[in-house]
């Protein structure tokens, strides 16, 4: 059993992983869509990456908490390092939202609600992860990772909005 303490980053990664798995299921169950297998494969790969990121974030978060509790001088460095994982979560969740957008536009009508829901879920995860990047880099607001995470969150939001359009 892992001794890592999960935080919002892990939760965001897990939520986005579930969203990606939903996309994979929607794509696999859709008939008559030539690119369905390809989208299913991409969504499955994204889900695997997000599962790994959930674990990595828990480890990074645990290390940062330990530095905080011990009032270690390493804390700013630990916090900056801890921003790398949520940045990857934001990017990967944005891709999950994009895959969900493609699925929402092409899937069987009966499955569309699942694809739209997946896009919304992945977008929310990307917003949460981008916020964590900002929070971890409070001492370095000009760090380019803040802008990169914000762009990923915007991409995810755009994809989710288009998916919602497809579902309405």
């Amino acid at each position: 059993m892992s001794s890592s303490r999960s935080g919002a980053g892990s939760a965001a990664a897990e939520a986005a992983a579930e969203a990606a798995r939903l996309v994979a299921t929607v794509a696999r169950e859709t008939t008559g869509w030539e690119g369905a297998a390809g989208v299913a494969a991409q969504a499955a790969a994204l889900a695997d990456r997000l599962d790994e990121l959930a674990e990595a974030d828990a480890e990074a978060f645990t290390a940062a908490l330990a530095a905080l509790e011990s009032r270690s001088r390493d804390l700013p460095i630990r916090m900056q390092h801890a921003a790398d994982v949520p940045l990857e979560i934001a990017r990967t969740a944005a891709d999950a939202a994009e895959a969900a957008r493609v699925a929402a536009e092409r899937c069987d009508g009966v499955l569309r609600a699942d694809a739209v829901g997946a896009a919304a879920l992945a977008s929310g995860a990307a917003q949460a992860a981008a916020h964590l990047v900002r929070a971890n880099l409070l001492v370095a607001p000009d760090d380019p990772r803040v802008a990169q995470a914000a762009r990923a969150a915007e991409d995810a939001q755009y994809a989710a909005a288009r998916a919602l359009d497809a579902g309405s």
Binding site: G38, T92, V102, D155
Partner: protein, 183 residues
Amino acid sequence: MGDDAELVGRCLRGEQQAWNDLVERYARYVHAIATQGYRLRPPDAEDAFQDVFLRVYDRLGSLRDPEALRPWIAQTTRRVCLDRLAAAGREEPSEVEARGLDETIDELDEAFAVREALASLPEECREVLDRFFCRDESYRTIGEALGLPSGTIASRISRCLGKLRERFEGRNEPARESGRSRT
């Protein structure tokens, strides 16, 4: 697999470059069987590697079906590895271990076939698949690198996966082993 038949023909005609191509094509495959399948130690794996390609060089003319180059090299590698284990005083794999070994070699065969199919794709497909599945790059990063809108990347990857599947299924017809009694 037409490429292997052509390669064998070039080797048998004495083209030096063809031998280089053969070694390049199968080097990782042979090494993977020795290290992942038979778990040879690095120096033994290196010796096995040399032995395999020496035998291939000496006996390629005995290969009855040039299309069956890959299974023939696999069988040659297995025999060389067993010889290495015996020479090192290590026991041959038990029946249970042998089943695991077969599975490992099946996986290596599949990986090899995917790699060959991937190599036969157009450059733009190879690149986009490599960036997404091997380098874990995001759609945005891929789009920026290739000068494409990121909203088109998922569909492009799907199209390329479709092509890969066609090539893979075309190449992955079971090949018969040939010439095994002569190794």
